[in-house]
Symmetry: none
Subunit: 437 residues, 2 copies
């Protein structure tokens, strides 16, 4: 039983094989748990040249399980299933796959002996329920699980390839690395998918898309996606092929995007706006300090999320009360009186005060109305004034009218502040301005 | 167009209706993003007496989209779809649903006018791509989206109910609360599942579980779950039945948990540590100010996430550099010299200085080593000193040695600071102390 049937593999695999992932377990249909295994498996499938076309979660019920397995195999020749391999009556993944492929379950005495031995080593008698974990799918490759009791399976039938893995992340991952990846990679087409992400801040999604569209039209087949997430736009794209060849292609696509979008692209892949601003500050020997009102510490929190930020970030004042604006960053009470706390004049004084108070080369001031209360007809919720004051004499100011709720206004304001610092450091202080849609 | 067809609802709804969720978007099939909307929607469906039987993610491709919608509707009469309602060529959810149900898309001039007005208010011309967001599914209930440009839809046909929502969480949630929940609840069967969450901060998960176990053993069948997430422990439990009856049962279970855990429970359901601390400060006429070093503004950002926090939060100093500790919150240079920036003495001086500088009744100081660099054998990464200084003469100090990475240490430190303020306000300043496991 369980002989190495992997040699027969390849029916379901080919250039650009479509694949899908199914996570089995009623706990994944509740209000608290997400199937995180699929993120790991997606990367692994892509590296093998496969393309994920769907993923899903289903409970332990027999009918549901059969319907989901059938739907998944209808859509893609390769299916990776996690979960439902345990010893309890709820665990029926193996039975469902055997049923669908018309295979029997056969007791494997060697596996049974290993299971008994595993329990014995832990000083326990094996419970009778665990016996069923020694019943294997006829004709399948049985994948040992040194980290747990449930073996996995690799089943091939009628051009379909199904991999069954335990749901526990460490067991799933170990089994994939040791048993599945080596078998599938023997038959994988040369050259999996490599991905790259370019990031833009301070432009509306539609404007980025308008500029980016000619580029991705020029590179068909590279899975272009544009994503807007809390104050930034991400451009995702991919290339297929041998690692170096794919990297060269990604470099050429990136160069085209950079030609179109220029400095609007602030970073790539894992870079964040705060890490990029930090690197610029460090490389130019500059230091930064803040006076935040409506963002309430969010800009400081983002800057200090970056390890080593104490090299260039001296500190910030969260000046929520007017008295704090006056006391900590020397805003003139007369300015507050005349223009109100949310005004260009106060933002400029906050920036200058932040710079002087902390002795930084660049100071930034942010004041605005994040809502939901506090808006007026003249200064509605979403009104934000942003100012920068630098030791080289640069004085900048931007006014925004931002849409969205309190969280979005705060997030977008903090990104705009970081963008303004970035463009100042790049010598392009004119470049920040467009609010999101 | 878009007349209130909701009166016809109920075909797909019934006692314990099966429901499914589909998230649309190629970005959800990558290696980085999970569909978190489904967790919220699952709870909402359960509250309406529905049972989630499957959920899934699919890309933007037309064939994939049609296949998934068909598979979902085969399995359950109610389907909630998120994403793919935007203005770009990739956004085809609306088209696919209309196609499946044999409906036309019809230009709605009122929606078009509102979209144009939305852009005009922001001083921009509406891009031509956005026009398609005014094409609505014939005969569907059109759900307005005051937070964005994409309207949602509620479509009924042949005993099936399909709800289309935007993928952006704030838009999705607002639309569900304001448009979908009221319509579906009119037709919901009596006796959905109600859930409650109680929250604990500053105790290790194992200690919470040990105390909570006798309670949940006493209430079998109430779906008890214990969850640890970034510095807090959540106790989830459920009751089934008529709303009032279920609420009474939840009250009784909650009372048992409160008897066991007392003041360790800081809040329930949507309450956050920062909102609870804010309510306590407001009701007691107290004000708070901060001096943050290792948390870098995270505590201020959390406090000011709460609308109306300017009532009690005066401000904070992010004193990353020693010069800022001296200049902004009057830490004695000799104390820094003698004890180092991460010390009980400096934390106490930061707290006192924060209180005086901002004129608050309570000041909090936090200094520590969040890593990954900066640790020493005497003061390893994870060492955090927390102090509180109140106008009533209270002086508190706690020292923690926290496990985990930079993000976890910062999150846990900020929760500990808020907990310390809470227990001080409750007259139980002895109660904060246990680090996580």
């Amino acid at each position: 039983m369980g002989g190495d049937g992997a040699e027969a593999l390849g029916g379901g695999l080919g250039v650009s094989s479509a694949a899908s992932i199914l996570a089995v377990g009623s706990e994944l249909l509740g209000t608290t748990r997400l199937d995180t295994n699929s993120l790991y498996l997606t990367g692994e499938l892509e590296a093998l040249g496969m393309r994920l076309v769907r993923k899903g979660c289903v409970g332990d019920g027999w009918e549901d399980l059969l319907a989901e397995l059938t739907a998944a195999l209808d859509r893609a020749p390769v299916l990776v299933v996690t979960g439902g391999l345990g010893p309890t009556a709820d665990d029926r993944t193996k039975e469902a796959v055997a049923f669908l492929f018309g295979r029997k379950l056969v007791r494997d005495e060697a596996i049974l002996a290993r299971l008994r031995e595993r329990f014995r080593r832990r000083g326990r008698e094996m419970p009778a329920v665990n016996e069923k974990q020694a019943d294997v799918i006829e004709g399948a490759v049985v994948l040992p699980n040194p980290r747990g009791t449930a073996p996995g399976y690799l089943v091939e039938s009628g051009g379909k390839t199904v991999v069954l893995l335990p749901g526990i992340p460490a067991e799933m991952r170990g089994m994939w690395e040791e048993e599945v990846r080596p078998r599938l990679s023997r038959h994988a087409p040369p050259g999996g998918i490599r991905r790259r992400v370019l990031k833009v801040a301070g432009m509306p999604e539609s404007a980025v898309e308008e500029i980016a569209t000619p580029v991705y039209r020029a590179w068909p087949g590279h899975d272009f996606t544009i994503l807007a997430a809390s104050g930034e736009i991400q451009l995702h794209f991919s290339a297929r092929g041998e690692p170096e060849e794919a990297a060269r292609t990604l470099d050429r696509i990136e160069a085209d995007f950079r030609k179109a979008l220029g400095n609007e692209i602030f970073g790539r892949d894992d870079e964040t706006l705060e890490s990029v601003v930090g690197d610029l500050l460090r490389s130019r020997g500059q230091t930064l300090s803040l006076a935040e009102s409506c963002t309430g510490g969010h800009v400081a929190a983002r800057l200090t999320d970056v390890p080593g930020s104490s090299d260039y970030f001296l500190g910030g004042a969260v000046t929520y009360a007017n008295s704090a604006k006056i006391g900590l960053v020397s805003v003139d009470p007369a300015t507050l009186e005349r223009h109100g706390a949310v005004s260009e004049e106060v933002a400029r004084e906050m920036a200058a005060g932040a710079r002087r108070t902390f002795g930084a080369t660049i100071g930034v001031g942010i004041t605005g109305i994040a809502g939901p209360g506090g808006g007026t007809p003249e200064k509605p919720v979403g009104t934000v004034h942003l100012a920068l004051d630098a030791a080289d004499g640069t004085r900048l100011h931007r006014r925004f009218l931002l849409p969205g709720d309190r969280a979005l206004i705060r997030r977008w304001s903090s990104s705009a502040a970081l963008s303004l610092v970035r463009f100042h450091l790049l010598g392009r202080p004119d470049a920040v301005g467009s609010p999101p849609r």
